[in-house]
C-alpha cells in the first residue's frame, strides 16, 4: 500500500516543531483523512478542528504544503508524494494547539458591521437580477482562509485597522442588497481600512467557495468609497444638490 510522509506541526503558543508521520494512502483520501488516521493510530492528542468533512463548515482550515486550504477538500492525489507533505496551522491567528488557532478576532470585527437594515415600509419582493451579486457572497463558509492569506494581516499584522477580505465580502452582501437602506462606506474607509487592501488577489486564490472576492466584492466597494470620498466631481454634484455624504 502506498504511503505518504506528513510533517505536522505539533505545539502551542510557547513553541513547537514539525513531527513526521507515515500514513497509508487509499483512493479518494483527503488530508483530513490522513490527520484522522494519525489521531487514531499514532497521536491521539493531535488537535485538529473539523466538523462536516464536506467543505461546508469551514472548520478544518490549515496550511498544506504552505498553501492555505481546507484539509477536507485537499485530495491526496493532488499532492506530490515524493516529498513530505507539511501541515501547519493558519499563520495569521494565535495558535491554541497543533493545528487549532484562535479565530475569535474575526467575530469581533464582524460585530462592527451594522446588520441588514431594510428600508421603512419595505415591499419584500426582489427580482433575481437584483440579488444575483449578493447570492455569490452568501456562499462564504467563514473558513477564514482569505483572512489568513491576506498579507495585511499575515505579514503586517494590522488587525487593529483592517477588517480583511471576509468582512469586505459580508459588507458587499449588505451594501449591494436591493432592500438594505444603510450605507457602510465610511465604515469601510475608516474602520475596516479598505484602503489598506492593495488588491493582490490572494484571498480570491484561496477561497474554497470560489467567490470572486477581489473583483466582485473588494473592488466594487473600493469604487463606492471613491464615489463617496475621493471623486471631486461627484463631491461637487452632491454639494450642488445639497445631498449629504453617507
Amino acid at each position: 500500500m502506498a504511503e505518504a510522509v506528513f510533517e505536522v506541526f505539533r505545539g502551542n503558543r510557547d513553541g513547537g516543531q514539525a513531527v513526521t508521520y507515515r500514513v497509508p494512502i487509499v483512493p479518494g483520501m483527503v488530508v483530513l483523512d490522513a490527520l484522522h488516521h494519525i489521531q487514531a493510530h499514532q497521536a491521539p492528542d493531535l488537535a485538529v478542528r473539523w466538523n462536516c468533512k464536506a467543505g461546508k463548515c469551514g472548520s478544518c482550515s490549515a496550511e498544506v504544503n504552505g498553501r492555505p486550504r481546507l484539509t477536507c477538500k485537499t485530495r491526496m492525489d493532488s499532492l506530490p508524494l515524493d516529498k513530505p507533505i507539511t501541515v501547519q496551522p493558519m499563520k495569521s491567528f494565535p495558535l491554541i494547539k497543533d493545528l487549532v488557532t484562535d479565530v475569535s478576532w474575526n467575530y469581533r470585527v464582524n460585530k462592527k458591521i451594522p446588520p441588514f437594515t431594510p428600508k421603512p415600509g419595505t415591499d419584500w419582493k426582489m427580482y433575481q437580477a437584483d440579488v444575483d451579486r449578493v447570492q455569490e457572497f452568501r456562499k462564504c463558509i467563514e473558513c477564514f482562509l482569505c483572512q489568513n492569506v491576506c498579507h495585511v494581516l499575515r505579514e503586517h499584522e494590522d488587525m487593529e485597522h483592517f477588517g480583511g477580505p471576509r468582512f469586505f465580502v459580508r459588507v458587499a452582501g449588505l451594501e449591494m442588497h436591493p432592500l438594505d437602506s444603510k450605507s457602510r462606506t465610511r465604515l469601510l474607509k475608516d474602520e475596516l481600512g479598505i484602503g489598506l487592501c492593495n488588491i493582490t488577489k490572494c484571498c480570491t486564490e484561496v477561497c474554497p467557495e470560489e467567490i470572486h472576492i477581489t473583483d466582485n466584492a473588494i473592488i466594487p466597494l473600493k469604487e463606492r468609497v471613491v464615489d463617496e470620498f475621493y471623486d471631486p466631481l461627484l463631491m461637487l454634484v452632491r454639494k450642488i444638490r445639497g445631498a449629504k455624504p453617507a
Partner: protein, 252 residues
C-alpha cells in the same frame, strides 16, 4: 514518528512552506513591464519615425505640435502620461506590480522583505490610485483618436487600401477598446454602483450593460497584457516602416 524543526517562525523575504517555484510567476511580469517601459520611454523621447503614409503610431496619437512651434521636445511627451496613468492605476496592473516590483507580497503565503510600515492605498502616493476613473474618461478620448487613426489607415493617397499596417492598427485599437471596456471602474459606473437595478431609471438597460461588461471584466488581465503587447508592436511596426527598415505590404 519522529520530530524535526519547524520553519513557521521564519521571517525573511521569500520565507514560505510552499515547495513550488512561486517566484516563476513574477518573471513574465518583470520582463514584460520592464521591456515595455524601457521601449516606450525610448520611443517617447525619440520624437521621430512615428508616422508613415496613413499610419500614425499610437504612442504619438493625438499628434500635437508635430512641427515644434511651441513644444521643443517629442510630441509623445505631451500625451503619454494619460495612457500610462490609465495602466498604472488599473486594478489588474496594480496587483501585478505590487507583487513583482514591490514584493508586497511577492506571492501568496510568501514572506515580504521585512517588517515595514505599510499603508497600502490609504496614503500618498498610492491613494492616488483612486483617480483611476478619471484616466478612464481620458482614455476614451484617446480611443476616439485611435479609431480615427485606424480609419485613416485605410486611405492611401486618397484611395481606399489595406496594408499590413492597417490591419495592425485596427487590431490594436480593437484590443485597446476591449481592454478599456473590461475596466472595473467602468463596470461600476455603468451599473455596479446601483443596489437595485429594477428600481433605477434605465435599470434594465444598465443591468444588461453591466452584465456584458462583467463578462469582459472576467478577462481583464488577459486584455491588459494583449493590448499592452499590441500597442508596443504597432508602434514598432510603424517605426520600422517609417525609418525604412521594412516595407509595408499592401494587401489590396
Amino acid at each position: 514518528m519522529s520530530a524535526g524543526s519547524t520553519t513557521s517562525g521564519q521571517h525573511h523575504l521569500g520565507a514560505t512552506m510552499r515547495p513550488d517555484a512561486w517566484w516563476l510567476e513574477l518573471i513574465p511580469v518583470i520582463i514584460l513591464l520592464g521591456v515595455f517601459g524601457a521601449y516606450a520611454t525610448l520611443r517617447a523621447l525619440e520624437g521621430r519615425f512615428y508616422e508613415w503614409g496613413p499610419y500614425l503610431s499610437p504612442f504619438y496619437s493625438p499628434l500635437i505640435d508635430a512641427h515644434h512651434r511651441w513644444w521643443p521636445w517629442s510630441p509623445a511627451l505631451l500625451i503619454l502620461a494619460f495612457p500610462l496613468g490609465f495602466r498604472v492605476t488599473c486594478y489588474y496592473y496594480r496587483k501585478a506590480y505590487y507583487r513583482a516590483f514591490f514584493l508586497d507580497p511577492p506571492a501568496c503565503a510568501v514572506a515580504e522583505p521585512s517588517k515595514r510600515r505599510y499603508r497600502g492605498e490609504s496614503a500618498f502616493p498610492f491613494i492616488l490610485q483612486n483617480l483611476h476613473r478619471y484616466f478612464l474618461y481620458i482614455g476614451f478620448i484617446f480611443l476616439a483618436f485611435l479609431w480615427r487613426d485606424a480609419v485613416r489607415a485605410f486611405v492611401f493617397d486618397g484611395h481606399f487600401g489595406v496594408g499590413v499596417g492597417t490591419v495592425i492598427m485596427l487590431l490594436d485599437v480593437t484590443l485597446l477598446t476591449i481592454y478599456a471596456l473590461s475596466c472595473h471602474s467602468l463596470r461600476h459606473l455603468i451599473g455596479g454602483k446601483l443596489d437595485c437595478f429594477s428600481c433605477a431609471r434605465f435599470g434594465g438597460s444598465r443591468h444588461t450593460a453591466w452584465s456584458w461588461l462583467t463578462v469582459l471584466n472576467e478577462r481583464h488581465m488577459l486584455y491588459a497584457w494583449v493590448s499592452l503587447i499590441t500597442v508596443g508592436l504597432t508602434d514598432l511596426y510603424i517605426r520600422l516602416v517609417a525609418c525604412g527598415s521594412i516595407t509595408d505590404m499592401r494587401l489590396f
